[in-house]
């Protein structure tokens, strides 16, 4: 049965098993491999996407649950005003090392700063603790979130 959803503002229809995780629908059926597979168990955050404004683990989200929803992935995050600031900060500070987790990090940071534009240190930690970076780029992730937060405040002023 064909299932429709919106990915990065584009309506998409896929005809695969409804229990297929959104991660694999994105990677295999929609040709969008930016969202990454890390653990398949919702433990590492590499597969994070934004679903109706909330950061979710796409490896734990069956396609059926995404039906009719608005999905934003790393390929489209810069089209969001907050996402654009996050991506700019990530680039300016050269956050990635291997880069594999960074799509998930950027999606979580975007969701965090959308909900909480000026997060405290504890809020940053809480918002990002679900995303593992095996290279441990955490110090730059913290800095980039602070930079993006400043830029968002500047844009709003």
């Amino acid at each position: 049965m064909a299932i429709s959803l919106t990915v990065n503002r584009k309506p998409r229809t896929v005809d695969v098993e409804p229990d297929k995780p959104l991660l694999w629908v994105l990677r295999e059926d929609l040709g969008m491999p930016g969202t990454k597979f890390g653990c398949g168990a919702g433990l590492c955050g590499a597969c994070t996407v934004i679903l109706n404004g909330e950061a979710v683990r796409s490896c734990q989200t069956p396609l059926a649950d995404a039906a009719g929803k608005q999905i934003v992935t790393i390929e489209g995050v810069a089209a969001l005003p907050v996402g654009a600031k996050v991506v700019e900060a990530w680039t300016a500070l050269d956050v990635p090392q291997c880069g594999y987790c960074q799509a998930g990090q950027i999606m979580s940071a975007t969701a965090l700063l959308t909900a909480t534009p000026k997060p405290s240190a504890d809020e940053v930690t809480a918002g990002m603790a679900g995303n593992i970076c095996r290279c441990a780029t955490y110090l730059r992730i913290q800095k980039a979130i602070a930079e993006a937060s400043k830029a968002i405040a500047g844009a709003a002023a």
Binding site: A78, D94, G99, L139
Partner: protein, 727 residues
């Protein structure tokens, strides 16, 4: 110190490619000290008619930054603007490009000189071309931003415009071509962002897992839960009926690289489908002879072996037992550390296409494509030259992808579906249970201190994993481990435990464990001697001199060691006094590995008696005369320190029951997260007149003992087992 001796086989060829682009192919033969065979470096530079410069990046990029760093060296001496430079990843072709591996923090020491010479040689040819065209002496010309300039006449010309003339200029002797003085560097030493950063933040397909050649199939596999076990029988009738399943293939070929990797692979049109379908496979494995291995068994054997004499000698000087018998004080302690997994965030995977003519093409996240080529040739009985290996960006290496098992398995899968590219992807549990683990180890340390408080005798009984009276891969330690070589009476002995687990190199291999043992134990010795560890190290190091290395290694310079110890003490304001604030602790650690000298101080806080929070880590490092890309260097060092903290406090042991590894995912093998990250990792450099060396690895080891020593400072408790816990 290692020097790179460039021999007479170096050459440089310039030619005009189609579209009037000028290409330089620089081939430099060089030999690293201690290596018998000279290797070639091929540096490939193309100057397009619009004066953009394309430089091939030849080594695997695992996040260590070499895809940016190596072209920086060439661009610097070629004297072009970094903004003119485009970088392309080379395929594996070591006849053409020279050594192409990511390991041992070797990329910088192996390429520092040859890469610069390649750029400088090309520049010299362009200058000679301009001199000829203008009829002026080459010495009257300068270069910059991809232009040759003649100040006297005010003329300037782009490199691209010189292409037709430069292609006919005789190549200079690359061994004599003048190199820039570091004070003239415009690219080297400047903060350069990662070349792939913009593509990463856009989510572009860069990684092995993203490879998608036309018509690609997917494969998931079931492997024997007991490493080295073999396939007895399987029933695939149910799995073949599953949606999307196209083929089921048994992999029973050969040993990869040592250790059987029998598996049954399910091939189909979606990884999610074949991964799900594999649950329907009924497989019987032969595990006899391998199912007796367990963590419990290793621990019991280690305990028994530690109580007996070592079965092999690693290093002996004087008479350690006699010296200990007359020492004023004797300190003894047992240290231990567990098996660890690499847990790269991108699970092991590879894509391969078995072409109709029998040639094999790979898209591979590999740290060592050359070894993989040899292993695949051996296991599949095909010619090494029949393979093409495209190197993808790699989602974390840490040594895991120096091994070629995942490529050999993929080759076997591809052979079953000729004409169709196929991607084999491990799931997280496959990855966790089929690693080449950092081996566990046990050390019984004994030291003798004389009446003056000097360390005079040392014994280490190292119980490790071995076969045939020798340690297995990555289970060895250096015979020259400091302070062995400077003491009169020393005995390093070994005893061996057999294992079925495959073992391998984990970032700063051996050093990540032995640093903890030796610097933790020396902190105990310092305490017994009435001093602190930095001071005990200074006394033991003595005057500046080079201690002879093991074969293929570099000497240990006691002066450079002292340099970083002094620097970090000054940087952190080390007083040697115990922390006055309850719950606060400070510890020190030094280590020399991978040609780099690092000393680190850890400040930590203990709350509720057992929660350990790292407040700040101070790092002083000596990697020679030049930090090539300080933006990346700082980042690598911070990452290595946090990686060390993870090994010390967060990672849990890889355990075995009935031969099988029991860990399955990040629930039982947790990685460090942002909430466990130190508040600050502060870095200072000790610049010395030595060839630049790498830093992906040597920053890691000292932080682990520094944490142990800081916990002692804060609580009075000595933690001698990894991971450390006060609970």
């Amino acid at each position: 110190m290692s020097t790179l001796a460039v021999n007479r086989r170096s050459f440089l060829v310039a030619s005009l490619a189609s579209g009037a682009a000028l290409t330089f192919e620089a081939r430099l033969a060089f030999a690293a000290t201690g290596k018998a065979e000279p290797a070639m470096l091929g540096a490939f530079i193309t100057i397009a008619p619009d004066n953009t410069v394309t430089i091939l990046a030849k080594n695997p990029e695992i996040g260590q930054g070499v895809k940016t760093m190596l072209p920086m060296l060439i661009a610097e001496e070629l004297d072009v603007a970094w903004s003119q430079v485009k970088i392309q990843q080379a395929d594996e072709n070591q006849d053409k490009y020279g050594p192409q591996f990511a390991g041992g923090s070797m990329t910088t020491p192996l390429n520092w000189l040859p890469a610069r010479q390649a750029g400088a040689g090309a520049r010299a040819m362009l200058v000679a071309a301009a001199a000829q065209q203008w009829g002026v002496p080459a010495t009257s010309l300068t270069t910059g931003e991809g232009m040759v300039k003649h100040a006297a006449s005010g003329r300037s010309i782009t490199y691209a415009a010189l292409a037709p003339v430069a292609a006919k200029i005789a190549a200079p002797d690359l061994e004599k071509v003048p190199l820039k003085s570091p004070k003239d560097f415009r690219i080297v030493g400047k903060a350069m962002k990662g070349v792939d950063t913009p593509a990463i933040v856009r989510g572009e397909p860069l990684f092995g897992i993203d490879a998608h050649p036309e018509g690609m199939l997917y494969a998931a596999m079931v492997k024997c839960p007991v490493i080295s076990g073999t396939l007895k029988s399987f029933d695939d009738s149910a799995v073949r009926k599953e949606k999307g399943v196209l083929a089921v293939v048994a992999i029973t070929d050969g040993e990869i690289p040592a250790g059987k990797h029998n598996a049954v692979a399910v091939i189909g049109d979606s990884w999610w489908r074949v991964h799900k379908a594999r649950e329907k496979l009924a497989v019987e494995w032969e595990t006899a002879g391998f199912d007796g291995f367990s963590t419990e068994g290793y621990t019991a054997q280690a305990k028994a072996l530690l109580g007996a004499a070592p079965t092999a000698d690693l290093f002996k000087a004087g008479n350690a037992d006699a010296a200990l018998a007359k020492a004023a004080k004797v300190v003894t302690a047992d240290y231990a550390y567990p098996f660890l997994a690499h847990a790269t965030l991108e699970p092991q995977n590879c894509t391969a296409l078995w072409h109709a003519d029998g040639k094999l093409e790979f898209w591979a996240p590999t740290q060592d494509p050359g070894t993989a080529r040899g292993d695949i040739a051996k296991v599949l009985g095909i010619a090494p030259a029949s393979m093409t290996i495209h190197m993808t960006r790699i989602g974390g290496g840490f040594g895991r992808r120096l091994m070629s098992d995942f490529m050999v398995l993929t080759a076997c899968v591809a052979k079953a579906v000729p004409g169709r590219p196929v991607k084999l992807l491990f799931d997280r549990t496959d990855d966790m249970r089929n690693d080449y683990y950092r081996p566990a180890g046990w050390h019984r340390m004994t030291a003798g201190i004389d009446a003056g408080g000097a360390l005079v005798a040392l014994k280490d009984h190292f119980v490790t994993f071995g076969a045939g009276g020798k340690p297995v891969r990555a289970a060895e330690m250096r015979a020259t481990e400091f302070p062995g070589p400077v003491l009169p009476d020393v005995h390093f002995g070994m005893s061996f435990i057999p294992t079925n687990l495959t073992t391998g190199w984990l970032r700063a291999p051996t050093s990540n464990a032995v640093s903890f043992v030796f610097q933790g134990f020396l902190d105990e010795v310092a305490e017994a001697a009435g001093t602190d560890l930095p001071e005990l190290m200074r006394r033991t190091l003595g005057a500046q001199r080079q201690l002879p290395p093991e074969p293929d290694d570099t000497p240990f310079d006691t002066g450079r060691a002292r340099g970083v110890i002094d620097a970090v003490c000054k940087f952190a304001g080390w007083t040697g006094k115990r922390s006055a604030t309850p719950g606060k602790g400070r510890g020190f650690g030094f280590y020399f590995s991978h040609r780099g000298y690092f000393a680190e101080v850890v400040d930590l806080t203990i709350t509720d008696g057992s929660t350990i929070t790292i407040d700040k880590v101070w790092v002083a490092g000596d990697i020679g005369s030049q930090v090539i890309n300080p933006l990346n260097a700082e980042h690598q060092m911070q990452g290595a320190v946090i990686d060390g903290i993870a090994q010390a406090l967060v990672w849990q042991p890889i355990e075995q029951k009935a031969g099988a590894v029991t860990q399955e995912n990040f629930g039982d093998f947790p990685l460090i997260r942002i909430n466990q990250t130190p508040g600050e990792v502060a870095i200072t450099w000790v610049v010395t007149d030595n060839p630049p060396t790498g830093l992906g690895e040597p920053t890691l080891p000292p932080v682990i003992p520094a944490i142990a020593n800081a916990i002692r400072d804060a609580t009075g408790k000595r933690l001698r087992n990894l991971p450390m816990s006060l609970a």
